[in-house]
């Protein structure tokens, strides 16, 4: 199988090279106003019916016969540019695109027909503009809450920014911010993601058909790029919300040579809560995040980027009474730093070299009179990668490269002292991760194109080494200019695993690496779909089906203390999971009304020999139906209206059916036990919610501002945050205590005013 794939790969590249012509046009496509490079912009030669697309750094390369050609350059939301080129030598052509005025088109996606034309499936270019336009709880615009509205992505608990892709677990999503891994992308126990929309340029969500440059997780890749910073002039934007405020500044350091972008956000819950605290009690909670990036164009061939992220949640309480001092401080957060160097070796060969540092850390400080303890858990990575984009012919876009990461895992580090006696318990693990990959996007004919790739990951921990091979394949067949059929097969391996000790996203979840006991998780996914655009790409539609099988998925033995267990690997169960479903997507890209409709019909199951008597059971977020409808209507330049409606089947729950008694250990009398039904057999009530928002924008001479009024959960539905069984529920009607299911709902109707500005 591996040999066959390799042979096919070599064949595709060679046939592409043989048919290659003599001269190459290459360069960058940029936003004319800001100088930001445009990712995924298309360059099309109508005469030859061929073209190219810019890569993640806005670079393109197109090799053609010597000829006089017309070149159309377009990117969604920008005015198309037509260039006449007499191709008699290699040409370097940088193109600046002007943004369209509001009313001409509304920016929703990137390239209009990319979804149909590219031999890639299961990928969604997340509409960043929508993140700012759609209503949000407390006015906090959240990237991940927009992700949850896309087909194939299941939301976590009520209000949570957590998500599950195609039946995979929460740890099966790789989140990259300027190529650095973000291990805990949440603030406030999962209610908000750490990504400040003001600082984000683009987001791509891959849920299947993964290109070979990505790996390390089973279910999805979320590739987020920060804004580079405006090369032309100084600008800023910000906002004042109910619980936080934010500010982003960007501008040139040296005009058209170097620029910067810096953004910051902080909540002020700690300040708001202060007047209500009892005397002698200190309690505070806040979160903040800072994004920063600088970039410098050294020459036509070289450009460097430095970017960083730092954010944390801080929670502290203390009680000081005479002779009694207790206090707890908890903080968790991520840091990342990326240094990148783009180099154009030749018009056909582009390279990006990256150095990456990232760190996730969770700390509890506790003082209880004579006892002082500090518990730390975290993971940090130092690594480098190199990625090449090679354009041997218009028929081939070959990507190849490698990555190496050295990781330090600290599942738990306990330090402290009782009086004068100190104690420490450290379990640090050092891990090597590496991979090489090659991927060719090959256009075989006008009808057929392929994306064929191979990734070979390596993982090493102590004396344990895992070498694996991951084949990736996607085929596209065009029925006509607006319709295509696609099918893909991918294999993925995952060597780091999240142990979560609750059903909600808490920072106390810990990451562990594979070991001689914990084998790499593996998944194989096949998918197929039809992609069709209507009315000159005004409407995008797609229908995809998928089947994903995962092996070595992990659960831990019930009641295991994951935090203090020095031998956690022995407390794990290994099983299998499988999920399948149908995803429908309709998106309207242009006009006064834009938005999309997503529907997912899906099943997700797990099976472990040691759980549920060995029988298969539904995953917690096995939701049969998941429907979301979003819409933005621009009345005019001043007023716009937006809305989101969500309906999804309730998540799964294990509930007791019966009860019985057995003798307790020793002479402890009788113990009451519960007879549970099959695991996760019970479905909670369906979740549904309507959010609406209205925005009033004013244009001033030097700045623009907007007032927003959002209503989250407009009809105040009491959706379950979680349901638990209270054995002693006091029935107010019968005035007796009895076991009952109790639903906690946390967000009723929440109206929010917010103010945003930009200059």
């Amino acid at each position: 199988m591996k040999q066959l794939l390799l042979t096919l790969f070599v064949f595709f590249v060679i046939t592409g090279v043989v048919s290659a012509k003599k001269y190459t046009i290459s360069g960058y496509v940029k936003d004319a106003a800001t100088g930001e490079v445009l990712i995924g912009a298309s360059l099309y030669v109508p005469k030859l019916k061929t073209g190219a697309v810019t890569n993640a750094y806005g670079f393109y390369s197109l090799t053609l016969n010597a000829d006089s050609i017309g070149l159309v350059i377009r990117s969604m939301g920008y005015k198309a540019v037509y260039k006449k080129i007499d191709l008699r030598k290699n040409i370097e052509l940088n193109v600046n695109l002007q943004t369209l005025e509001l009313g001409e088109v509304v920016i929703v996606g990137s390239k209009a027909s990319e979804n149909v034309e590219k031999p890639q499936m299961g990928v969604i270019d997340v509409p960043i503009a929508s993140v700012k336009e759609l209503p949000a709880i407390f006015g906090e615009k959240d990237l991940f809450k927009v992700l949850q509205l896309l087909p194939g992505v299941q939301a976590g608990a009520e209000g949570s920014a957590g998500f599950y892709v195609r039946g995979g677990g929460a740890d099966e999503n790789l989140i990259l911010l300027d190529e650095a891994v973000i291990y805990n992308p949440f603030h406030m126990a999962g209610f908000f993601s750490i990504f400040n929309g003001d600082a984000i340029k683009s987001v791509d969500l891959y849920k299947g058909g993964f290109p070979a440059q990505y790996g390390g997780r089973l279910s999805s890749i979320i590739d987020i790029s920060m804004k580079d910073g405006n090369m032309e002039s100084f600008h800023g934007e910000g906002g004042i919300g109910l619980i936080s405020s934010r500010l982003m500044l960007e501008g040139p350091i040296v005009k058209n040579k170097a620029s910067f972008m810096v953004s910051a956000r902080r909540t002020y819950l700690d300040l708001l809560i202060k007047p209500f605290l009892p005397k002698g009690t200190e309690a505070a909670y806040y979160f903040y995040d800072i994004n920063a990036k600088v970039n410098y164009i050294i020459s036509d061939k070289d450009r460097v980027y430095l970017s960083g992220y730092m954010g944390a949640d801080v929670l502290s309480t203390s009680l000081v009474n005479p002779g009694d001092t207790t206090g707890v401080g908890v903080s968790w957060g991520n840091k990342s730093a990326t240094a990148r160097w783009n180099h154009v070796f030749s018009p056909k060969l582009f390279a990006n070299t990256t150095f990456i540092y990232d760190d996730y850390n969770f700390t509890i400080n506790e003082q209880m009179n004579a006892l002082q303890a500090k518990i730390t858990s975290g993971i940090n990575d130092v690594g480098g990668k190199i990625d090449f984009d090679w354009f041997p012919s218009p028929l081939n876009h070959v990507k190849f490269g490698g990555i190496y990461t050295y990781s330090e895992f600290i599942p738990s580090l306990v330090e402290g002292q009782i009086g004068s006696v100190g104690f420490t318990n450290e379990q640090t693990k050092y891990v090597h991760n590496a991979a090489v990959y090659i991927n060719d996007e090959y256009t075989f004919s006008e009808k057929w194109s392929f994306n064929i790739g191979l990734r070979a990951p390596y993982f090493g921990y102590k004396q344990t080494d895992y070498f694996d091979v991951e084949p990736r394949f996607t085929a596209k067949y065009s029925l006509d200019k607006t319709t295509s059929l696609k099918a893909s097969y991918v294999m993925m391996y995952q060597n780091i695993h999240l142990l979560s000790n609750s059903s909600i996203s808490l920072p106390t979840d810990i990451w562990i690496p594979s070991s001689n006991i914990v084998k790499p998780e593996q998944s194989q996914q096949v998918s197929a779909g039809i992609f069709k655009n209507f009315m000159d790409n005004a409407f995008e539609t797609s229908a995809e089906v998928y089947y994903k099988k995962s092996n070595n998925v992990i659960e831990y033995q019930p009641g295991t203390d994951i935090f203090f267990n020095p031998n956690i690997d022995n407390a794990l169960y290994f099983g299998q999971g499988w999920s399948y479903g149908l995803e429908l997507f309709i998106k309207k890209n242009v006009g006064k009304f834009t938005g999309w409709l997503g529907y997912t019909l899906s099943w997700a199951n797990l099976q472990f020999a040691q759980l549920n008597n060995g029988a298969a059971f539904p995953a917690t977020y096995d939701r049969r139906h998941d429907f979301s409808l979003t819409g933005i209507y621009n009345f005019n330049k001043n007023w716009s209206f937006s809305g989101v409606f969500i309906y999804e089947t309730g998540s799964s729950l294990t509930v007791p059916l019966g009860t019985y008694v057995v003798p307790g250990p020793g002479q402890n009398g009788m113990v009451q036990l519960l007879d549970y039904g099959s695991m996760n057999f019970y479905k909670l009530p369906a979740y549904n919610r309507l959010d609406i928002g209205i925005k009033y924008t004013r244009q001033h001479k030097k700045y623009e501002d907007e007032w927003r009024f959002d209503i989250y959960n407009a009809y105040s539905r009491q959706n379950p945050y979680f349901v638990f069984i209270d054995p002693n529920y006091m029935d107010p009607n019968a005035n007796i205590s009895r076991p009952a299911a109790v639903q906690i709902s946390i967000f009723p109707i929440i109206p929010t005013f917010s103010y945003n500005f930009k200059f």
């Binding site: 009641g559 069984i725 529920y729 009895r738 639903q743 929440i750």
Partner: protein, 264 residues
């Protein structure tokens, strides 16, 4: 300031506007199951309790009603598959908990097969009696003083792993450690005890060795019981080894007592 407090009040009204409500679960009708509980101990006669489970949502007071669900008039016997003998149990009609007991003494290393017939319903299970461990030595460390004035001690109990297995060792029959991956090594169990301050204090320490089904049932039962009032805990399903019913037919072997004398 008044304005600020007003807005803050609104904010917290919203934040704390979380709602708790009783919901009715649409679950299937629950049919009572026969519950067996029997842990075999070497050199002792087997004792077994039989009861019926009931719907979790239909009872008024568990302690009283469940204790009324002990079963009488069942036919119970165990077969010693190693020795090829059968021991028919008798019902203790005087015991409040309606205990059934055997006549023969249980032997270490033997495998037993349980057969229960209650109103035509047949329940079966099988278990093997493990080897008893032997304590090598015990260290102790005084931690602090309890709320009631007595001392807290941390005991470190050392013993050697036993051949065969896997073995599951415990001091309290609730928290077990496995010898998987530690075959033949010296093992340690740490146990905290609050003691009365009557020095010299004598503590008799004993280590138990259980088979897998016994360890799984008892440890999961302990965790489920501890988490009974914790809404955030994941459900712990106590899986027994009774075919056709609930409960445990297990076995434990105990070490000889190791006497520890603590002087002030």
């Amino acid at each position: 300031m008044k304005k600020a407090s007003f807005f803050t009040l609104i904010l917290f009204s919203l934040l704390l506007g979380s709602c708790e409500k009783n919901i009715t679960l649409d679950i299937p009708k629950y049919d009572s199951k026969v519950v067996v509980f029997c842990v075999l101990l070497p050199n002792q006669r087997a004792q077994l309790s039989l009861s019926l489970s009931q719907s979790y949502y239909s009872y008024a007071d568990t302690d009283t009603t469940l204790n009324n669900h002990f079963i009488t008039n069942a036919k119970v016997y165990i077969t010693d598959l190693t020795a090829g003998t059968t021991d028919t149990f008798q019902e203790d009609t005087f015991s409040q908990n309606k205990i059934y007991f055997g006549k023969k003494f249980i032997a270490t290393g033997h495998t037993y097969f349980l057969h229960v017939n209650y109103n035509g319903k047949i329940l079966t299970a099988q278990t093997t009696v493990p080897m008893p461990p032997k304590i090598d030595h015990v260290d102790y460390l005084k931690l602090d003083t309890t709320f009631y004035g007595g001392p807290n001690y941390e005991f470190h109990v050392y013993f050697n792993d036993l051949p065969g297995g896997p073995n599951y060792f415990s001091v309290d029959n609730a928290n077990f450690i496995s010898d998987v991956g530690l075959a033949g090594k010296q093992l340690e169990i740490i146990e905290d005890l609050s003691l009365a301050p009557n020095y010299p204090i004598t503590v008799d320490v004993q280590v138990n060795n259980a088979n897998k089904e016994t360890s799984d049932f008892l440890s999961n039962a302990n965790i489920q019981n501890q988490n009974a009032n914790n809404p955030f805990s994941e459900p712990v399903i106590v899986e027994g080894n009774i075919n056709g019913g609930l409960g445990l037919f297990g076995a434990i072997s105990q070490s000889p007592f190791f006497k520890v004398i603590i002087t002030k």
